[in-house]
């Protein structure tokens, strides 16, 4: 009779192998746990790639210029936050710009802005992934949808360029996640967090107020349905209470923004009413910016960008009607309504004709896809196809200059071509101006410029506090009597640049040397608009009325020419 026994193994080798495998598994989990940092690293890498090839956006540069001014003093010149734009993303850039002297590209190549938007982008991607999982979408589909969003070319560009779109989208997505939790679990705290996040987004873009309104609408409907067994006064009370939760953070954030704007700049709604406000800029004659866009044009652009959005919505409606699918409309409303507002803004002239105002179409594809995906494999398939196709159509769209004026340079870089000359911003000449001014050893607030064009000079300077710019509270008092306010140099550009430059509004002939008590001391030329930059020294009092209203006075070439 034989007896089967388990062969004796060498216990120590197996133990070692177990330990190694366990350790590897821990490392694997840790590496997986920090996956948002890979997304962040990818965005920063792309940002460095674009910056190295000098493709920048003007608004992003202006924001960095403002933050650079604040970062340089112990007495924060908070007006430089610039209430033309919100505090986000300017304020997060300030700590990075404390190192601006150590690594100049943080300032000159707007890397500080890129890092901030990359961080927001990674946060948005993280929140989106967990929103999808918590909504009930499978892990595989969630991964596809999330990566499809993260590396959509339009999202990628804006995660790398320091503009305000991605912080806005990230906060909106984060808000969606908690709102979705509230829809599922009914915990009021989740609604509170969601409303705080969407309120915070108003410090980035005012359109977030539309998202708040959408949230309020959905909350009202949900609470109304949930309290069907209560008396009418109780139903009204609960809706009122929940609406307070939704609106209070937005009112607080936006209200304090207005208050600080008024306190620091003298104008409560500088974002709308200032010379840089949209309504002013779209009215400029001869501006390349069109006042309003045809509905057909906007629709065409949207169809180029995200054609599958229509397919998804069609699928969803059919499934709701015929298959009685259960759909949560909250997330769709919170992303969809602001997009509709942007469409309205484009067609009514409230906003510029830029492709980025349709950027919400990309997360909307994902959010609608989520509602499809939770209802079965067919829905998951349609959602994944939609996101992947959208990546392709977006890439195609940004390769059409007529549709994507600001994004086209990025597209050219992505296909291996040169993009710097197509960039929104050229810094060669303003940098030369900055270097020359730095060498003059001037006191603070002695150089008059503005926040937009002047921002291109400020980022090239090591001494941003020397510049008096448009967000300063007394700016228009200073510009009226610059010499009396300590101004000794004025930066001027030609009057036909197609954008607002306040100095040109007050002294339209200064560029041509027609203002007494001024002398041209430096000139630089370069690519882009404006191509000419002049610096005038003020020797005595000047005022708008002292300017010679003649186009025949031409300044002699200065001794310093770049």
């Amino acid at each position: 009779m034989t007896t089967l026994t388990t062969p004796r193994r060498d216990a120590s080798l197996w133990d070692v192998a177990d330990t190694i495998l366990g350790a590897l598994d821990m490392v694997r989990r840790a590496l997986f746990f920090i996956w948002p940092t890979y997304i962040f690293a990818a965005y920063v890498s792309c940002a460095l790639f674009f910056a190295n090839r000098h493709v920048l956006m003007g608004d992003a540069l202006s924001r960095v210029a403002s933050a650079w001014t604040i970062a340089q003093g112990f007495q924060p010149h908070l007006a430089a936050i610039g209430f033309v734009w919100g505090p986000i993303p300017v304020v997060p850039e300030i700590p990075l710009l404390w190192f601006g002297h150590i690594w100049r590209p943080l300032v000159t190549e707007v890397i500080a802005g890129s890092i901030v938007t990359a961080a927001f982008g990674a946060m948005g991607v993280y929140m989106l992934y967990h929103f999808l999982l918590e909504r009930g979408v499978s892990r595989v589909t969630s991964t596809v949808l999330t990566l499809g969003f993260a590396f959509n070319p339009l999202i990628l560009i804006y995660c790398t360029n320091g503009m305000s779109e991605i912080p806005y989208i990230a906060l909106l997505i984060a808000s969606l996640r908690y709102f979705s939790r509230w829809e599922i679990r009914g915990r009021t705290m989740d609604l509170g967090i969601a409303s705080i996040l969407v309120g915070l987004a108003s410090w980035d873009r005012y359109e977030s107020i539309v998202a708040t309104i959408a949230m309020a609408g959905v909350v009202s409907i949900i609470r109304w349905r949930a309290t069907v067994d209560r008396p009418l006064p109780a139903r009204r009370q609960t809706i009122f209470a929940h609406l307070l939760i939704v609106f209070m953070p937005t009112i607080m954030f936006f209200g304090t923004f207005i208050l600080f704007s008024w306190s620091l700049t003298g104008t409560p709604l500088a974002q709308f009413s200032s010379v840089y406000g949209n309504s002013s800029l779209v009215k400029i004659a001869g501006s390349p910016i069109i006042a309003s866009v045809q509905v057909e044009t906007v629709s065409n652009r949207l169809m180029h960008l995200a054609p599958f959005l229509v397919v998804e919505i069609f699928f969803l409606l059919v499934a709701i009607y015929f298959r009685r699918w259960s759909v949560r409309m909250g997330a769709i409303a919170i992303v969809g309504l602001p997009l509709l507002f942007d469409l309205y803004g484009l067609t009514s002239g409230l906003q510029f004709d830029f492709l980025r105002y349709l950027i919400l179409a990309v997360p909307l594809v994902v959010v609608v896809g989520a509602e499809l995906a939770v209802n079965g494999h067919a829905g998951s398939f349609v959602a994944c196809v939609a996101v992947i196709v959208t990546m392709g159509t977006t890439f195609w769209t940004i390769g059409i200059p007529a549709m994507a004026l600001q994004e086209y340079p990025y597209h050219q870089l992505m296909v291996g071509k040169e993009g710097a000359t197509l960039s929104d911003v050229q810094l060669e000449a303003p940098t030369a101006v900055a270097q020359w001014l730095d060498a003059q050893n001037l006191p603070d607030d002695s150089i008059l410029t503005d926040a937009t064009y002047g921002g291109r000079v400020i980022v090239g300077s090591h001494y941003p506090r020397r510049f008096a710019t448009s967000p300063d509270r007394n700016y228009f008092t200073i510009i009226d009597n610059p010499y009396q306010h300590g101004i000794r140099y004025v930066i001027t550009v030609p009057t036909n640049t197609g954008a607002i430059y306040p100095i040109n509004e007050y002294y339209p002939t200064m560029f041509d040397g027609c203002v007494p008590n001024t002398q041209l001391v430096f000139q630089a030329t370069g690519l882009g608009r404006p191509s000419y930059w002049r610096v005038y020294k003020i020797d005595g009092p000047i005022s708008p009325s002292s300017a010679v209203k003649s186009s025949h006075c031409t300044a002699p070439l200065p001794p310093n020419v770049f």
Binding site: T188, A234, F240
Partner: protein
């Protein structure tokens, strides 16, 4: 009343409500006054400030005064910076506790765990009262409505010997068998905790609780308390039920009070429990194991918020307090002057309690940990202190809005201004926001609109806190009696 007539009155009352033998009464009264002192005189509020505390605070005042004389601008800057940072940290701490409480789910009432009638132990209710003849009828109704075997329930009605108004009213009423009237011998301090300590000497229950005469506890509260005690570890010595107001819609003040109470009992106490911080008890409906309470020396007769003090003392001795999912309805103060009197007593008691428990800071850190001391300081110490500072801070805010006088312009460094402004807007908004969240959680949505007017309530708190600080220095153990019965019960 002369001694002879007082004796005659006492004999007449004793005939109707038999009292313990005189020597027993005297011993009980002595124990009520000095019992805690015999166990640990360090924790009594007999003196408000220990010598080192007195020296410390006098030094602070002297240094500040000298600083203002020598260089008012720099001294003002340092003081304003310190206050702004303190405000910010306090708001952060309080919000952390509140939001933790909003998110937490304390154990709910579970009928399956209720103990069978035959196994229910003896339960003692202590009911101190003074000059409250109008609430005696509530007493009768409350006893009738409590669902607990009456043969295992004793209600000790604790009255001062010279409280003739209440005693005369009692003589007109037929009291239930489970009610026993105990006359507290007259002595100083004449406080509720001393009366409760006196009653504790005669308590036969395994568990004991306190109700005020106008309280309306939930019918099954005692049963739930027993069930929770039986299913909790031995170190759980106290259960605090939620207090609520039956007259919350009477006027704006009662609405404010209700919001505060709902937030306190519905969110802050659960938050403290979840964060493992000491829980200051409420004035009534705290259920305790009698033997542990006696072991700890009962209540501090000199502390005007003896409940808060007991909660901290329990924690210092390694015992736990849990939140009981049951509610007792009370009457909210509906008169502003009466409210200020009551609130100033509470704030004075909070300051007393904090000072007592910080007499030996190292010991406090050892017993309740850093987090416990932080929680205690935030909730007990800084609440009245910063409320008192609020009047001054409010004045400065008005200056900022209207126009800062030139002599004040150097006092506030820019970062203090920015931080203070952020606190003013966002800190206050966050507190209101958390109140609204709390009202939704506690299903008191009819009070939400009053949350928006809460700054008015803060003003009243500031007035009461200022009075409390004054009384803490001048008459620390003075008990400011709250007038009850301003509302018909049940309205």
């Amino acid at each position: 009343m002369s001694d002879a007539s007082a004796l005659e009155y006492y004999q007449r009352i004793s005939e109707r409500f038999p009292q313990p033998p005189q020597e027993v009464r005297i011993a009980a009264e002595e124990a009520a006054r000095n019992g805690l002192e015999g166990i640990n005189d360090d924790v009594m509020a007999k003196v408000a400030f220990y010598p080192w505390q007195k020296r410390f605070w006098i030094t602070v005042v002297v240094v500040l005064a000298a600083g203002f004389i020598i260089d008012p601008v720099i001294t003002g800057s340092i003081l304003s910076a310190f206050l702004v940072v303190l405000y910010s940290l306090t708001v952060y701490g309080r919000m952390r506790i509140t939001f933790t409480g909003i998110l937490s789910d304390p154990p709910k009432q579970d009928l399956s765990h209720l103990v069978a009638d035959d196994d229910l132990p003896m339960y003692t209710i202590l009911m101190p009262a003074y000059d409250e003849p109008e609430v005696i009828r509530n007493l009768v109704r409350a006893v009738d409505e409590i669902d607990y075997p009456h043969d295992r329930l004793e209600l000790l009605l604790l009255l001062e010997e010279d409280d003739h108004r209440t005693l005369d009213a009692l003589l007109e009423v037929e009291l239930p068998e489970s009610v026993r009237v105990l006359l507290v011998p007259p002595s100083e301090p004449r406080t509720k905790p001393k009366a409760c300590n006196y009653g504790l000497n005669f308590a036969r229950g395994k568990y004991v609780t306190i109700y005020d005469a106008e309280d309306i506890p939930q019918r099954y509260q005692l049963r739930y308390a027993v069930a929770m005690f039986e299913n909790s570890p031995d170190n759980v010595v106290c259960l605090q039920a939620r207090l609520d107001y039956f007259n919350d819609r009477q006027n704006l003040l009662t609405r404010f009070f209700s919001i505060e109470y709902a937030t306190w009992f519905g969110c802050i106490l659960p938050g403290l429990q979840a964060l493992n911080m000491p829980i200051p008890l409420g004035g009534t409906s705290n259920h305790m194991r009698t033997d542990r309470l006696i072991e700890l020396g009962g209540w501090d007769p000199y502390n005007v918020t003896e409940d808060a003090d007991l909660g901290l003392r329990l924690a210092q001795n390694g015992y736990r307090t849990l939140v009981l999912d049951s509610v007792t309805m009370e009457e909210a103060n509906s008169d502003t002057v009466n409210w200020i009197r009551q609130r100033s007593r509470w704030y004075k008691g909070y300051l007393q309690t904090w000072l007592v428990h910080m007499r030996r800071p190292r010991q406090s850190f050892q017993h309740v940990g850093f987090r416990g001391v932080l929680g205690m300081t935030t909730v007990i110490g800084l609440t009245p202190a910063l409320a008192a500072v609020n009047l001054f801070a409010g004045l400065i805010t008005i200056f900022f809005l209207v126009g800062l006088p030139s002599f004040l312009s150097g006092v506030f460094p820019p970062w203090v201004v920015y931080m203070g402004t952020a606190m003013f807007f966002f800190g206050n908004a966050l507190v209101i926001f958390s109140s609204i969240l709390a009202m939704i959680k506690m299903r008191k949505e009819h009070l939400v609109w009053a949350c928006l007017l809460f700054p008015l309530y803060w003003f009243l708190m500031a007035v009461a806190a200022t009075k409390a600080v004054y009384q803490l220095i001048v008459k620390p153990s003075y008990w400011e009696k709250t007038q009850h019965g301003l509302t018909e019960a049940g309205e």
